[in-house]
Amino acid sequence: MNEQQLALQIEALLFALGRPVARKELASKLGVEMPELELGLRELMRATAGRGIVCVDDGTEVELRAGPQAAEMIERVRKEELSREVGRAGLEALSAILYRGPLTRSEIDFIRGVNSSQTLRTLMMRGLVRKVPNPKDQRQWLYEPTTELMAELGVREREDLPDYDAVREKLTQLEAAYRMKEQEPATHDDPAAQ
């Protein structure tokens, strides 16, 4: 691998891992020796200087971050995002989790008929739902409402939601009927990625 190729691999790996990574770990994951890694890192630092995504190096660990020129803008956008209403998608996902939950992401996708990963991410950032390991399958996450959400809704438990039993029953029936009819491969369960 030449320097450019190595820089590319380092950049992609840091992006995929999304956390600070020690030089040693980088070298072992990429299967290169330390001196080679240093060359690749130097090339990456050079190539990302003054860009939207920069490589930050504290001497031990390296990490990708949004460029400093964009920090102010990102701060503003983040605030805006969280002050927005959760919208239709958010309400649907919340109601699936409340009435039918706890559910895995693929079960929520199935009930809604659309991919819900971004919606769930927003709901989690806002502290409305959280994910807990599925006791039946440790590789999966289950989504459940937070206690803060329950308090905000003024219900002590999910059973207190309007028409809880009827809605839960109806959704269960529809799911069963639809799964049976489905001939195509359904969603595969996400292995605790994210």
């Binding site: 956390r19 699936a96 806002r126 905000e152 939601l161 959704l171 001939q183």
Partner: protein, 238 residues
């Protein structure tokens, strides 16, 4: 990750028809459509029981093919504007489908390409930010939307059944018109036979007439037809 896929042999009537045309290495036009009509109908005939909706779609296309074939054999057969449109539309759909299906093969190959993986942006620590629009009522309404969002499984077949009815009418009226076009009555074929069987025999006979293998005689107007040939079984009259 292994997934079991129950793949039907044909995705639908266009798929079957296109397959028949491509197998013979033909271009899509009324000549090739007329050429594969018999085989298409024979295939549909031999299909195992299908859901009502699907059968209707296969049979509806058979009707258009039948019309194309009849016209190719009987140039003086009157074709209505609507039927003309059906024929043109079928050719167009088939040509588009062929392109889309081919492109789909290219996509299948692309699914084997190295993919562009997702990044993993760490999210900021969650903080509880309530949203005034999230209430018991709005959640109940959203649940209702979820319930309504499941496709209505029962609604489809009813519409399709209506299509079958109109197909029978269509075949009926077509055989009347063909009759006058070639001064031939098809009483024989309007008995209690299976629809598919009627169509196949009907097409076979048209073909034979065209090729001069049989000669049709009619004693008087609106009278019965005598088919002068030993090659086919003598018609039975009721």
């Amino acid at each position: 990750m292994p997934i079991t896929v129950k793949t039907p042999v044909y995705e639908g009537p266009l798929d079957l028809l296109l397959d028949l045309i491509e197998k013979r290495k033909l271009l899509i036009n009324d000549i090739s459509l007329a050429a594969v009509a018999d085989e298409y109908i024979a295939r549909v005939n031999s299909m195992e029981a299908m859901p009502v909706g699907e059968t209707a779609q296969f049979v509806a296309l058979a009707a258009t093919l039948l019309l194309i074939k009849s016209r190719s054999l009987l140039p003086n057969l009157e074709i209505s504007e609507g039927e003309e449109r059906d024929i043109k539309e079928l050719e167009y759909r088939l040509a588009v489908y062929q392109i889309i299906k081919d492109a789909g093969r290219g996509l299948r190959a692309s699914l084997g390409n190295p993919m562009l993986h997702e990044g993993n942006t760490p999210d900021p620590e969650p903080m509880f930010l309530p949203d005034a629009s999230v209430t018991q009522e709005s959640l109940r309404a959203a649940a209702q939307a979820l319930i309504m969002g499941f496709p209505q499984l029962a609604a489809l077949p009813k519409v399709e059944v209506k299509k079958i009815m109109s197909l029978e009418e269509m075949i009926e009226s077509l055989s009347k018109r063909v009759t006058s076009a070639m001064k031939l009555s098809f009483r024989e074929f309007t008995g209690k036979r299976e629809r598919g069987e009627i169509i196949v025999s009907f097409l076979a006979m048209l073909e034979l007439v065209k090729q001069g293998i049989i000669k049709a005689n009619q004693e008087k107007e609106f009278g019965d037809i005598t088919l002068e040939s030993d090659a086919i079984s003598t018609p039975t009259y009721e």
